[in-house]
């Protein structure tokens, strides 16, 4: 029996699974269908279900935009009610943005000058609150150069900022901010020392050059060789393909 090769989506779902600790509560933002639905709903949803089947049987999610996914995952998708955002009861949030900078500040309000924007976007929706109160946030973004900027045009989600001596805590934010940027090429994290986006893992088949070309901000740490992302185990791939998502209704198999 030959080894099962994980798809990109399975790799991402497994990374999310490993990020979730037992008993933690996850919150997903709004999705609007298509690729967004895959990246922001199905991948983390399968990630949560995988965590529940493996190391975190008591993790849960507050709600999703997808009754279909909840039906497919069934008991593997524990949806709880009553978790309170403001009391710090959400452990992990997930959100997207049009711009992210190296401090993990996010923007979904406008591109360009606020008063005369070149593109007016939807508005802050729940992003400020995610980044203020959730214990940590996974930023999920399509990996295009224009999405990665030196300084976002509008801070609608507060990252680690360029706070100098000030920390997020010192300005009164209870959450610890973004813990990773997950793209379709790679994962950045925010090491405690610098709190700036640092390339952590690239997916199989992706090169550092490819990441560099598609990333608009300068990294403090961008070595020639970056570890390849940890791949899901054979058992995790089997769980996804045979038990959680047998019809590939959530994660495409290619």
């Amino acid at each position: 029996m030959s080894d099962l090769q994980p798809t990109k989506w399975e790799i991402m779902a497994a990374i999310i699974s490993h990020e979730i600790k037992d008993g933690e509560v996850m919150f997903l933002g709004m999705s609007t269908g298509g690729i967004t639905m895959l990246l922001h709903t199905y991948v983390p949803g399968v990630g949560l279900a995988l965590a529940r089947r493996t190391h975190a049987p008591n993790c849960a999610i507050t709600s999703t935009d997808s009754p279909d996914m909840e039906r497919i995952l069934g008991d593997d998708m524990k949806v709880i009610s009553g978790a309170n955002i403001y009391l710090g009861e959400i452990d992990i949030g997930l959100s997207s943005c049009a711009q992210v900078d190296k401090y993990g500040n996010q923007n979904i309000v406008c591109i360009g000058d606020y008063h005369k924007p070149s593109v007016r976007l939807v508005g802050p929706i729940l992003q400020p609150t995610h980044l203020a109160y959730f214990k940590r946030e996974i930023i999920a973004v399509d990996h295009e150069a224009r999405n990665f900027v030196d300084k976002v045009d509008f801070i609608s989600g507060v990252g680690h900022q360029d706070l100098g001596p000030k920390s997020r805590e010192s300005i009164g934010l209870p959450g610890t901010g973004p813990c990773m940027i997950m793209t379709d090429l790679c994962v950045f994290d925010f090491p405690l020392g610098t709190r700036t986006a640092t390339l952590k893992w690239i997916y199989p088949g992706v090169t550092v050059d490819e990441v560099r070309e598609n990333t608009g901000f300068v990294h403090d740490y961008m070595p020639e060789r970056v570890p390849e992302a940890p791949l899901p185990t054979q058992e995790e791939i089997r769980l996804i393909r045979e038990e959680l998502d047998p019809d590939a209704a959530l994660l495409p198999r290619s």
């Binding site: 007016r120 976007l121 508005g123 934010l173």
Partner: protein
């Protein structure tokens, strides 16, 4: 000395759409509570505001989409206070985008969870609504209505949101009576929190409903499948006028009654996108055909077509 004997006569609050829209003067602040993108928008009322060529509106909106976009596209709006204007899977709200990018409409940004608290603050006599979740964000930099303060309790900074003070709140709901009693139906994961919080902060509520039912018989007209649930209501005391506007949320949906007309929204969104890219013709045709060209809401429904509308009714709607 004689005593006048007068029996109480409940006020009939039923008005035509046109009469109700005339209540909204140029420069008014109105609250339009649609639900993100394309659900539960009081569209018949929004169309009528366009027909009456109302100007310089300030719109307080919860996560919004179609209704704000339409009013921006027709030049009725000066300012929007909101967390979101978008069309979900149909893309950005092009008319809103264009108006903001051209500097014709200004926006006061609020996060999604802090829109209804502005209604709560008004309804509870709070001088302002203090929060801490905005610290560090550019919302504080650009929304000049939000002021910074120091808490007298713990001495740390907070942001003070202004209570919402709409001149009019406009809501679309399934059924109501001429006294102004209104009932909402429920959908999966949906309850009309925004609508209820907004209507509680004023008595100037304009309610459009799919159907006016006989006074004191509203519960008889609740479809069977909803009768086993608690249903949210607006009591007559809070309603200023009520308007019968069947399919009054079209092309947006109405929870438990009508599906969204996705083909129509696609056409609408395409017209807006073309205009944003410099080709105003299809947007102008849209307004000419579906708004200015329709004397009344009935004319609009006729244009949309009975066949199309019938397909949009969902289970609850069959019984309306």
């Amino acid at each position: 000395m004689g005593v006048r004997i007068i029996m109480s006569e409940p006020t009939n609050k039923l008005r035509s759409l046109s009469e109700a829209a005339k209540l909204v003067k140029d420069g008014s602040t109105i609250c339009l509570v649609g639900r993100t993108g394309r659900a539960n928008h009081p569209m018949a009322f929004a169309y009528e505001l366009v027909r009456q060529r109302v100007k310089d509106l300030t719109i307080i909106a919860v996560n919004n989409g179609l209704s704000v976009d339409l009013l921006c596209g027709a030049g009725c709006v000066r300012r929007v206070e909101t967390s979101c204007v978008g069309l979900e899977e149909f893309g950005l709200a092009s008319n809103f985008r264009r108006a903001v990018e051209r500097g014709e409409v200004e926006v006061a940004e609020y996060p999604e969870d802090l829109v209804t608290p502005r209604f709560y603050a008004t309804a509870h006599g709070m001088p302002f609504y203090p929060v801490r979740g905005l610290l560090g964000s550019d919302i504080l930099k650009y929304n000049e209505d939000i002021k910074e303060g120091i808490s007298p309790i713990d001495g740390k900074p907070y942001s003070a949101l202004p209570p919402a003070r709409p001149d009019w709140v406009v809501v679309h709901a399934p059924i109501g009576d001429t006294r102004g009693n209104v009932v909402f139906f429920l959908g999966a994961g949906y309850s009309p929190v925004g609508e209820l919080e907004a209507t509680r902060c004023t008595k100037n509520n304009i309610i459009t409903v799919e159907r006016i039912v006989p006074d004191d018989q509203i519960s008889k007209y609740i479809p069977t499948q909803f009768r086993r649930s608690y249903l949210p209501t607006i009591p007559e005391f809070r309603t200023r006028v009520i308007v019968e506007a069947p399919f009054g949320s079209h092309p947006s949906s109405l929870t438990g009654v009508t599906e969204a007309d996705t083909e129509f929204i696609e056409m609408y969104a395409k017209a807006g996108r073309a205009r944003l890219k410099g080709d105003p013709e299809s947007w102008e045709s849209f307004l000419d055909k579906y708004v200015y060209g329709c004397g009344t809401h009935s004319d609009y429904l006729e244009l949309v077509g009975a066949g199309v509308l019938a397909k949009l009714r969902d289970v609850g709607g069959d019984l309306i």
